[in-house]
Assembly symmetry: C2
Homo-oligomer: 564 residues x 2
């Protein structure tokens, strides 16, 4: 249903926001049985689930995609039962973290009933995702529903059809039941908008859920979803996956369908976003990506690359070779991140089945300059127009990335071509650095024995304090290079283990800002925050990155702690 | 050796041009035995070869790549003998058509001697192109040689290393021996520059060799080369291949290596050029492309797509489905082109092994508006700077495509994003039109039985009169869509067969301009000009397009006439 309270119809931005929240609350109130008000959000909200949900609901919502798929396909559990459980936990997640823009109980229940009937009638599932609940970041268009991309002025825009990705997932059997929050402009590594306020971290309410797919992150971290859709142009799938202790993948661009999403800067080709999954399991991410690729999305969306899913064994008995990026040379990670890296490295080395080498960062400071000069090539014109149209104020991190960004340029065509050539030069140089890890060179110049994946932090800290997630380098680096990157949970901040003081003299202002946060808040301030890491592969090696993590998970039990 | 007479060193553009021509002539004069001056170029220059070359030279130079490869690999013929023959015929081609910027006799002979020794020592060829002479369009950089891209002011720029494509072909065994002409700005469908003047058509000196790879076209048409390198952003491989009765392919962008070429508008991503082969045989084109792809050029050039060469059978016993584009709805082809199409269609239908349907052009007029608005996004600023720097005058077709182009825009970032979105919309629409040719739709929305390739004219006439090649639509259409397109020779203009008057009332000014040319010059004016057609496939279906032509060549003897 189209929103009627809009700035176009004369409402103030506050009135529009209030109306959207009222609408959201109505969809939450429609969940049966109803959830209580949470008046005093605990620091760690995870225990709320045990308090307010049934044992069956907990069991279902804490199941992994790969298990639900089997049970749904063989009728051991009905789609209706599953979606009811996720609707209730999502409603609770909203109360705990403010991660929902609307729930879709009626649509979802109708869909589940259809799927249950389909299974009963046909004795087989409708597709590989039969009955799987999938949560969706708001700016991925859903037919007939509001599509505002986090801007107050855009409320009232209605998607004419489902985004291409949703069409395919629908055919595969998905149930869409929840739409999730995103920040103003979509360009924060947090989730803060004038429409819905701030989305917080379910493990520690003083921390951000990350962003821009931060509604997804919080919802998955809380287990109100087992599989969700995010988008990423600088870290927007990965930061929320990492901050909430779930898996998440930013594939190489051009592999998964992008049609039907709302955002500023559409038409820009300098740095292109990717859509991808967040999931409570690696297998959930893999099934999501494989299902989409198996459906040949390129046949309808000609900007996509017609690469089939590669199911070959990339290693064939040889050792996986992992290179460790301890520090990008710009902003040093907080001690918990380094501790997580150390643990993984030690265990991998101990396994004897994985080669571990060091990755020397190659000009990551320059990489940031380049990508930061290519994000808002119109000088942030579209963002300004979108916020001015409702007179909504700029959120702090919108200001940070557009107005306080010294590398941002209002480009001419000529200056943009120059910046694009600089980007391409950097990509070629980085590629050469990777080739230099070869242990031998073949007769036709083939580089043999190169590093398979880089093991890297996802950010310079565990989930940041609200409005402090300012250094994008650990994620945007791989957007600039258009490399696939896969997030996995490792540990969580522990007041005992991370409490020791570390002496460090920051190298620059960004480094100082980040280190000062640690000095100020310490382990206590980040208590319980998940710590995650990422595997990064070369361009288009998405399947290999997934396989690398499968290998590592066999060698090393991950994560090292329980989150739920 | 770097040019020393340059505008940067104070020379006038005329002095620079004279010096470049002097240099070229010196390289021609170095060919032994020397070729005579041709003082009175005949209308059809092809017979000159028989007059001035030995029978052995003729036999070698009229051999196809696939035959030379075998003879060179088994030592039946030496690389030295082969390159000497091609050097002589290329020297003659220069005198006949003005297609050469410089020959490289010493480099080529040294290389051939090395390859002959290699074969003798190792009893095997160095690679799949052992000893094959390859001619190269000038703007593809060669280490230590001038690299001017057709601009007088750029003379004096020297390539620091071989272009990536040359490095691979070199490893495969190629011998580079000739560099060929290109037009001012590289943005003509002819070849006319202030450095070297006009390159003419070997079959009819009053006609253009096409462009921008027009030096290649004339050289191959004259059989001074059997395999050459061109580039194409609007028809620049295809127009010269077609005008000279040889094969030529513009692959999908991102498949073959582009590093190390000189041109304006580098950094532009809105419409991207492709490099590709011109060859006297289809197998020559295929071997060229396959060799490059088999060398995994993406490992060094990260902007390329890591698609291996697809060697599967795309048809597996089913019929090839060809759709015929008779007329793009904007500029109607001259009668010889239509006659060639009719002949091919009739024979294909008669064969019974190919399905032939009609292709209704979808808004090709709009397609031209879109691509013409995306070529010179900086308002032609780089071209203006490059010509202003030497005060060289604009050639008529430079003026045509930049200054007299009503769709050309000096874009802002905002207007370029809008134009890019318009491009993407058009691509999606055209893709949907193609999907609509399906005879059935599968359960997952697969389009089955769609058209395999479009059979299309390459231009609205056979090789045009000098300075009249103004309608790019038949080739630029496929650059806008980034579809692979493969040129093949069919027939030639015949005064008897094409002499009949055809009554036609042109639909628009462009159409009138083209038809008036036919009215004015008639078949006599285009006498002997090769008539070629193209097969166009969907994005990234390069291998399928080649296979389609292989099938058609089995069904229908092509071309219908002898050129040489």
């Amino acid at each position: 249903m189209a929103a009627t309270v809009t700035t176009a119809s004369g409402a103030t931005w506050q009135e529009v926001a209030a109306d959207r929240q009222k609408h959201r609350d109505a969809t939450i109130a429609a969940i049966a049985p109803p959830l209580p008000e949470i008046t005093d959000t605990p620091l760690n909200t995870i225990p709320l689930a045990k308090k307010y949900l049934t044992a069956e609901e907990i069991k279902i919502t804490e199941s992994y995609v790969e298990d639900l798929v089997v049970q749904l396909a063989n009728g051991a559990i009905s789609s209706t039962i599953v979606i009811k459980a996720f609707l209730r936990r999502a409603a609770l997640a909203q109360k705990a973290t403010n991660c929902i823009t609307e729930l879709l109980p009626q649509r979802a229940l109708d869909r589940a009933a259809f799927l249950d009937k389909y299974l009963a009638d046909h004795k087989k599932p409708i597709g590989p995702l039969h009955g799987i609940p999938i949560s969706v970041k708001e700016h991925v268009g859903m037919k007939g529903l509001d599509l505002n991309a986090g801007f107050v002025a855009w409320v009232g825009t209605v998607a004419e059809e489902d985004a291409h990705i949703l069409q395919i997932l629908w055919r595969a059997g998905a149930v869409f039941y929840a739409r999730t929050t995103q920040p103003q402009s979509l360009m924060h590594l947090e989730t803060s908008s004038n429409l819905y306020g701030v989305t917080t971290n379910p493990f520690n309410s003083t921390l951000t859920s990350g962003g821009s797919s931060g509604g997804e992150g919080a919802l998955l971290g809380f287990r109100g979803s087992c599989l969700g859709i995010g988008t990423d142009i600088g870290g927007s799938i990965r930061s929320p996956a990492a901050n909430n202790g779930v898996y998440g993948m930013k594939p190489t661009s051009g592999r998964l369908p992008m049609g039907g999403m709302s955002a500023t800067m559409l038409g820009a080709e300098h740095i292109v976003p990717a859509v991808g999954p967040l999931s409570t399991s690696l297998k959930g991410c893999k099934l999501f990506i494989k299902t989409l690729i198996d459906n040949k999305p390129w046949s309808k969306e000609p900007s996509l690359l017609p690469f089939p899913w590669k199911s070959e064994d990339f290693f064939q008995g040889r050792k996986l070779k992992v290179a460790v990026l301890w520090d990008d040379g710009v902003v040093k990670p907080h001690p918990p991140v380094t501790r997580a890296l150390k643990q993984v490295v030690e265990k991998l080395k101990k396994s004897g089945n994985v080669d571990v080498v060091e990755w020397k960062p190659f000009q990551h400071d320059i990489a940031w300059e380049i990508i930061a000069s290519l994000y808002f090539c119109d000088g942030g014109g579209e963002e300004k127009a979108a916020t001015d149209a409702s007179s909504e104020p700029l959120r702090p991190l919108t200001r940070h990335i557009i107005h306080d960004n010294p590398h941002m340029e209002h480009h001419t065509i000529a200056s943009m071509w120059t910046a694009t050539k600089r980007r391409d030069k950097y990509r070629a140089d980085y590629n050469a650095v990777w080739n230099e890890t070869a242990t031998s060179v073949g007769p036709n110049g083939e580089f043999e024995g190169t590093v398979d994946v880089i093991l890297s932090p996802v950010g310079p800290s565990a989930a940041p304090k609200i409005d402090t997630a300012k250094w994008w380098g650990y994620t945007s680096q791989w957007n600039l290079l258009d490399y696939p990157a896969l997030i996995f949970p490792v540990d969580k901040v522990d007041v005992e283990k991370d409490g020791e003081k570390v002496k460090y003299e920051p190298r620059n202002e960004k480094d100082r800002y980040n280190w000062d946060l640690w000095e100020k808040f310490g382990a206590e301030g980040y208590k319980d925050a998940p710590i995650s890491l990422q595997f990064v592969g070369r361009r288009y090696e998405d399947e290999k990155v997934i396989q690398a993590l499968e290998i590592v998970k066999k060698e090393v039990a991950l994560p090292f702690v329980e989150y739920i």
